[in-house]
């Protein structure tokens, strides 16, 4: 009546039920009414710890080791008491830091190290594969056995069959499909799967009910309760031994090391981390789980020893593997429904484990191993696409299939040689390697990346050497002499008596040596060097997690970053302009025209992070980036607030610095201005004294001659005329002086009316030379003039230019010695301008006077001892005029060798040429 078809149908109905629960859970989650927001569901989901290893393997272990199997459940109970400190902290940290796997957790703690993330992933995958193989083996075995109903027969050896004939292969494929459907239907940035958790909780319930049902049946159906069963067993001396702590796995050392191992396993197995930390909805659910989860463990273990004893009593002739008693006892008693229930319970235990474990591992493989490598190898190409979710999903699905295939391979090649419990313990020992880095990292700020990497690697290597390789050797993959003689025949390196350590079972032996090196190196290397700033701030983020307020109401997740947010964030700390520039620079580097067109991909985020790191330190930068890249939980808001304050202080101090620099500059300017003012003041004094002096001289002579004329009416006509002409000359001089002062004032105030016309500079030169010819003749000076045939016209005020020429010529005449004086006038055509040189062979001007003679009332030489021979305004006015028309006026001179005054005026040559037909 329990046909193969019925079993398959029952299995599929059961799996269909799981899907229905998962779908319902997801629907409720989408609607915001979480099905799993309940401490009981949380505790039940934690019971994914109990796999088919518990369901079938505990009985097998109890059948040989008595009570020894219990240490694997006592350990988690003890650990649960520490969850208050440990797990709560891990949950809080993970929620705050958006941690999605145990690899992520370790990597994040030690300065977001990719190497550590990859290392943890590799250890987890390698360590857990045998464990998955174990589940496959359990499903396969239980399926074969129940198919034989009503007969009780052990399945044949798997390894002798071709894998395509092996139903385990198809079970593995089916599980992969289930897992993909359950776990990677869509990409969730948070890696939370509410529906899945609901299904897992249901599975936990099913396996508990099934196991207890079998236990009750065996204890009360086959025997007359506990008393009867134990009494009958006690009559058999072999079975009596099982009721004590004894046997191979019953020694106290083994008991203690298994307790410790299981304490670590319940925290650090990838699937436990997944359900306990990642899938945790509310930190407060932990409170109830602290005692509900151990209670579950207690309940599922009460009947282990009775079933084992019952099985041993019933199949006293042997031939039935104790690992299968849960299934074979109901079959032997012709109880099809109980057998089916037991089968479904075992299926629950195995599928639950496989699904959660592979999802956790695939997340780790994708996020901590494949993506970092992929981003490194093909980052630019990946960055170009806006949506990486399909790629991520693909990687995860591939990882799930890969993990299950590896598990199958392990099972196919080695699974038969080991009892269930031994395989599981290998995995436990592997994940126990995470303990020093995680627990140390949670409470010891000094633990650093190098220490963690060295400790983990050493522990992993020891684990491979003392546990995994011997397992391979026993499966026949390695020569068995490897076990008995050690590698290269070195006795001290015997994998199960490393360095000659005898008397420990292989698990305790591995635990001791791996922890010895793991903890030792972690502590020693950490102490060698102080952690860098990034590690330190990350460490305090972890160690001081309890001091930060927990994230409340932060159930809203965002999957990706937006460029707006990123640039806003950058602008916030770098200043909007710098952020814009930096992003524009970065955009150029990547060959994108505008920063707005930058994709908000991991590369940009990374760049933004490194940009931020320059301003606010890398750890803060990471937190900031995390806040926009994924979610913005409350405590991140606080961090923003704190950093905002810090950046404000920074900005203030920068402003202060800037202000003080500005003040400094202003002071310098003021000092300069003051000097200039003093100089100007001096100039004004000089000006006034010069002007008064200049005015007084002609006035004095005018007055003197007028008085003479008034007092002596009898002067001869000739003398009168002479005096009158002097008076007229002096008045003219006075008028000229006043005119020049007025002229200069007008020029300087910009009120001059200029009349710019094109004219020929040669004509102006000729005219001025003619005007001056009398003066030159009077002083007996030789005048020489040169100009080219063809001269381009200039645009300027002709009268003003004449004024300049006359001034220069009269200066030359003034300073030349009469008789030997020689004045040379030259007109030179330079490409853009006309240059006029007026050279004399007078006394010259000393260097310090060369700059000053263009100042008002400045004259070469000492004005106090020598009689000034001009108003001292001519050159100042000339320079004003020349500069107004875009030219330059300067002097080249050497004392004793004459002086050459030159000016340039831009000419119209080019323009003129163009206008010519």
């Amino acid at each position: 009546m329990l046909t193969g078809g019925l079993i398959v149908v029952a299995s599929f109905i059961y799996v269909g039920l799981l899907f229905a629960i998962a779908a319902y859970g997801d629907k409720r989650a989408d609607a915001g009414r979480s099905l799993i927001a309940n401490p009981c569901i949380y505790a039940l989901s934690l019971a994914v710890y109990c796999t088919s290893w518990t369901f079938y393997g505990s009985v097998g272990r109890a059948a040989t080791g008595g009570m020894g199997f219990l240490s694997i459940y006592i350990g988690p109970t003890l650990m649960a008491a520490l969850w208050w400190y440990l797990l709560r902290k891990m949950i809080r940290i993970s929620k705050a830091n958006r941690i999605t796997s145990i690899a992520d957790f370790v990597a994040s703690r030690y300065g977001k190290s990719q190497i550590l993330g990859g290392l943890v992933t590799i250890i987890a995958v390698v360590g857990v594969i045998p464990y998955i193989a174990l589940q496959l083996k359990a499903i396969s075995t239980s399926f074969s056995i129940i198919l034989n109903y009503p007969g009780v027969a052990m399945p044949e050896r798997i390894g002798s069959r071709f894998f395509l004939d092996d139903n385990t292969f198809y079970i593995a494929m089916l599980l992969a499909v289930f897992t993909i459907l359950f776990g990677t239907r869509h990409l969730d940035a948070t890696e939370r799967h509410e529906g899945l958790v609901a299904a897992i909780a249901f599975e936990s319930l099913v396996k508990l009910v099934a196991f207890v049902a079998v236990g009750l049946f065996v204890t009360y159906g086959m025997y007359d309760g506990f008393g009867d069963l134990f009494r009958r067993a006690a009559e058999n001396p072999q079975l009596h031994a099982l009721m004590a702590l004894g046997g191979e796995s019953g020694s106290y050392t083994a008991w203690a090391s298994l307790t410790v191992l299981s304490m670590f396993a319940v925290m650090f197995l990838p699937r436990q981390f997944q359900v306990a930390v990642v899938e945790n909805v509310d930190e407060r659910h932990l409170n109830k789980a602290i005692w509900l989860f151990p209670l579950y463990l207690l309940a599922i273990n009460v009947f282990v020893l009775p079933i084992a004893l019952g099985g041993l009593l019933h199949f006293s002739s042997g031939g039935v593997d104790a690992d299968t008693f849960v299934l074979t006892l109901p079959i032997a008693q012709a109880q099809p429904w109980i057998a089916l229930l037991a089968f479904v319970g075992g299926l629950s235990a195995a599928t639950g484990m496989v699904i959660v474990e592979t999802i956790a591992l695939s997340t780790m493989l994708c996020n901590d191993l494949v993506m970092p490598l992929l981003l490194r190898a093909a980052g630019a190409r990946l960055a170009a696409s806006r949506d990486l979710s399909q790629l991520l999903l693909g990687i995860r699905r591939g990882a799930i299939v890969g993990i299950l295939m590896l598990g199958y391979l392990y099972f196919y090649l080695a699974g038969e040689s080991y009892a269930l419990v031994s395989i599981g313990l290998i995995s436990f020992s592997a994940v126990a390697q995470f303990a020093p880095a995680i627990i140390g990292g949670l409470f010891w700020k000094g633990g650093n990346r190098r220490g963690a990497i060295c400790g983990l690697s050493a522990g992993f290597v020891i684990w491979i050497y003392t546990l995994l390789l011997p397992a391979f050797a026993q499966s026949g993959w390695l020569p068995i002499t490897f076990l008995s003689q050690g590698i290269f025949g070195i006795d001290l390196l015997k994998p199960q008596q490393l360095f000659g350590l005898n008397g420990l079972d292989e698990i305790s032996h591995c635990l001791f040596w791996s922890m010895f090196f793991n903890v030792g190196l972690y502590v020693a290397i950490s102490l060698l060097r102080a952690p860098d700033a990034a590690e330190r701030s990350q460490a305090s983020l972890f160690v001081d997690a309890h001091r930060q307020t927990p994230a409340a109401g932060s159930r809203f997740w965002r999957g990706s970053a937006s460029m707006d947010e990123l640039s806003t964030l950058l602008g916030r700390f770098l200043g909007p302009e710098r952020a814009r520039d930096a992003l524009a620079d970065y955009a150029r580097q990547r060959g994108i025209r505008a920063p707005d067109a930058l994709p908000a991909d991991p590369l940009t985020v990374h760049h933004a992070e490194s940009l931020l790191a320059g301003a606010i330190g890398s750890a803060s930068a990471r937190v900031m980036i995390a806040s926009v890249v994924e979610e913005e939980p409350l405590d991140i808001g606080e961090v923003i607030h704190i950093i905002d304050e810090a950046s404000q202080v920074l900005a203030y101090s920068r402003q202060l610095e800037q202000k003080s620099q500005e003040l400094q500059a202003a002071t310098n300017e003021l000092r300069g201005a003051n000097l200039r003012l003093q100089e100007l003041d001096q100039l004004k004094d000089d000006f006034i004294s010069t002007v008064t002096h200049e005015l007084r001289t002609p006035l004095t002579s005018i007055r003197a001659f007028s008085e003479i004329l008034l007092d002596n009416p009898a002067l001869p006509q000739e003398q009168r005329d002479n005096f009158l002409s002097i008076i007229i000359r002096e008045s003219e001089r006075l008028t000229r002086l006043i005119n020049q002062v007025l002229d200069l004032a007008k020029l300087e105030s910009g009120n001059t009316v200029w009349q710019a016309n094109a004219f020929d500079l040669r004509e102006a030169l000729e005219e001025s030379l003619n005007a001056m010819s009398q003066v030159f003749q009077d002083n007996r000076l030789r005048v020489e003039s040169h100009w080219p045939e063809d001269v381009a016209p200039i645009v300027a005020d002709r009268d003003r230019v004449m004024q300049v020429l006359l001034n220069l010529l009269s200066n030359a005449a003034k300073f030349c010695t009469p008789g030997t004086g020689h004045v040379r006038v030259m007109l030179v055509h330079t490409p853009e301008a006309l240059r006029v040189d007026v050279a004399d062979n007078g006394p010259g001007i000393c260097e310090q006077d060369q700059a000053r003679i263009f100042d008002k009332f400045r004259q070469a030489g000492d004005t106090l001892t020598q009689k000034p021979t001009g108003s001292g305004l001519g050159l100042a006015i000339s320079r004003q005029i020349i500069e107004h028309f875009g030219g330059r006026l300067w002097v080249v001179s050497e004392p004793g060798a004459g002086a050459t005054f030159s000016f340039t005026l831009p000419c119209l040559g080019v323009l003129d040429d163009a206008q010519k037909p």
Binding site: M67, L70, S71, I74, T77, L78, M79, A80, A81, L82, W83, W84, Y85, F226, G227, D228, F230, R231, A234, H240, A241, M243, A244, L245, G246, Y252, W255, A256, T259, R284, N287, K288, I290, W291, P294, L295, L298, V302, L305
Partner: protein
Amino acid sequence: MKLRPATQHGLKGQRLAALFLLGALLFNYPLLQLFARGDMVFGVPLIYCYVFSAWAALIGLMALVVERGDSNG
């Protein structure tokens, strides 16, 4: 007012840590050895009886510590 929950919080954790130490003692050599001699009580092996009752008691104490007092402790 602010001090009380914090103290309670700290106390809960310490009580649980103490229970951990108690459990570590209860389920280890040498205490285990006292009960591992194969004697029977009430028709049940002494060690079986001891481990499960100690286990249950430990869980009961943990529940008591966690659930007592304000629930959001």
